[in-house]
Amino acid sequence: MDDTVIRDYIARELVRDPSLLPLENSTPLLDSGILDSLSLLRLVVFLQDQFGITVGDLDVVPEHFATVDAICGYLRSRTDGSVSTAP
């Protein structure tokens, strides 16, 4: 499942505070400080490589990156629904 791939990447590469683990799909990524400006850039680069899309800088708004669910929702809108989440 793609949400697992995204969640694992964030947990492995971007979470600095272990008390925030394990991540849930609904864990607030911005409000909790997991994603700041530069870690968001890392995530965007990862998403572009992983899903073969280009994320325009105008698409980088808090509502698209607030949670793993929000990221998947944004990716679905960019990939005709081919990005999937666990039921």
């Binding site: 400080g33 400006s37 530069l38 968001l40 850039l41 965007v44 980088v60 708004v61 808090p62």
Partner: protein, 349 residues
């Protein structure tokens, strides 16, 4: 980032409002002098021949030094800094140092005013050294990051690069945008007097890192992808949201906490990272903008950032009066160079 916490000198410098809100509280009569300088005196002086324009600026700097209400306390502050930061950083004659500081800040306003007409009036006064490093970096097609510090008239000097055809964008906070209690009229004034003049010589709007604006690095990366130049000052104290990713490093003889964002941005985008500093020559008219070859990223983020900080440290030591933050206690405390006294200078909200 512009910053001027509680004990700002009363010069008409490029730091109109303190990020701790002090500017809003102290919007009082003595600020009318600053208003007059920005709105009337400096724009008129900037139209004079350079020798006369900067003489006016120096006279204004002398005047503001003489009427500085807290001057004795500020002299004591500087003497204490000598003890904290090292005897070699500041001269024995702190009064002469402070007077020079006031003069330079006043000169910087005239620089800004001389940017009209694609910087024609300022260009002959600024020698750019190392431009070939920037041109070579851009030939690789990944853009370039200029890491600087709040030294000298850096914003005006970078404006000249843009006027010379280099697409350049700032990453930095203009703090008056974040004061909730600051009157709208005051914000509009600084937008007109300051932001408008700077942004005329920028490729994109200012990219302002702040809580609730996580898109800034992505926007900077987009500029680099378009083979543009992104300029970042790495010497301000971190905002609260950034404290978790600061690194402790030796800066001005102390252990400061700084954000290595320029290095991380360079690592992610593979854009070369160059150092660039501006300083003013003793005649007050002429300036030098020095651009370094690319900084090596070998050894990882912290090692590379140590090299950047060492370059900033050397630049401040070589031209100490040109550094903005000597009288900014909040900023110095936020950097870890002074004991904390009620919060970092970078906390606006």
């Amino acid at each position: 980032m512009m910053a001027a916490p509680e004990a700002e000198p009363p010069v008409a410098g490029l730091e109109p409002i303190g990020p701790d809100g002090s500017g809003a509280e102290q919007w009082e009569l003595r600020r009318l002098g600053r208003l007059a300088y920005w709105a009337v005196i400096a724009p008129l002086a900037a139209r004079l021949p350079a020798w006369a324009a900067y003489r006016v600026a120096c006279a204004w700097g002398d005047l503001t030094f003489r009427v500085w209400p807290d001057r004795d306390a500020e002299m004591d502050h500087l003497r204490r800094l000598r003890g904290i930061l090292g005897e070699d950083l500041l001269p024995d004659d702190v009064e002469a140092f402070s007077r020079e500081f006031c003069r330079l800040r006043a000169c910087e306003v005239v620089d800004l005013m001389r940017l009209h007409g694609r910087g024609r009036a300022l260009r002959p006064l600024v020698e750019v050294r190392g431009r070939e490093h920037l041109d070579a970096a851009l030939e690789a097609g990944r853009g370039a990051i200029l890491c600087s510090a709040h030294i000298g008239s850096y914003l005006s000097a970078f404006s000249l690069l843009h006027a010379d055809g280099i697409p350049l964008t700032n990453v930095g906070r203009w703090d008056w945008n974040y004061h909730r209690q600051l009157p709208t009229l005051v914000k509009r004034f600084w937008d007109l007097a300051y932001s408008r003049r700077v942004l005329r010589h920028r490729q994109r709007p200012n990219l302002e890192p702040w809580q609730g604006r996580p898109q800034v690095a992505v926007q900077a990366a987009a500029a680099l992808r378009a083979n543009e130049v992104v300029m970042v000052c790495s010497d301000p104290a971190p905002i609260p949201a950034d404290r978790a990713r600061t690194v402790e490093t030796t800066f001005l003889g102390g252990r400061a906490r700084l954000v290595p964002g320029v290095v991380t941005l360079s690592e992610i985008t593979r854009a070369p990272l160059l150092m660039a500093f501006t300083y003013r020559l003793p005649d007050y008219r002429h300036q030098v903008l020095e651009i370094s070859p690319p900084v090596s990223l070998e050894g990882g983020t912290e090692a590379a950032f140590e090299r950047c900080v060492a370059a900033m440290d050397a630049a401040v030591r070589a031209h100490p009066q040109d550094w903005y933050f000597w009288f900014h206690r909040g900023e110095l405390a936020g950097l870890g160079l002074l004991p904390p006294s009620g919060g970092s200078g970078s906390e606006t909200d």
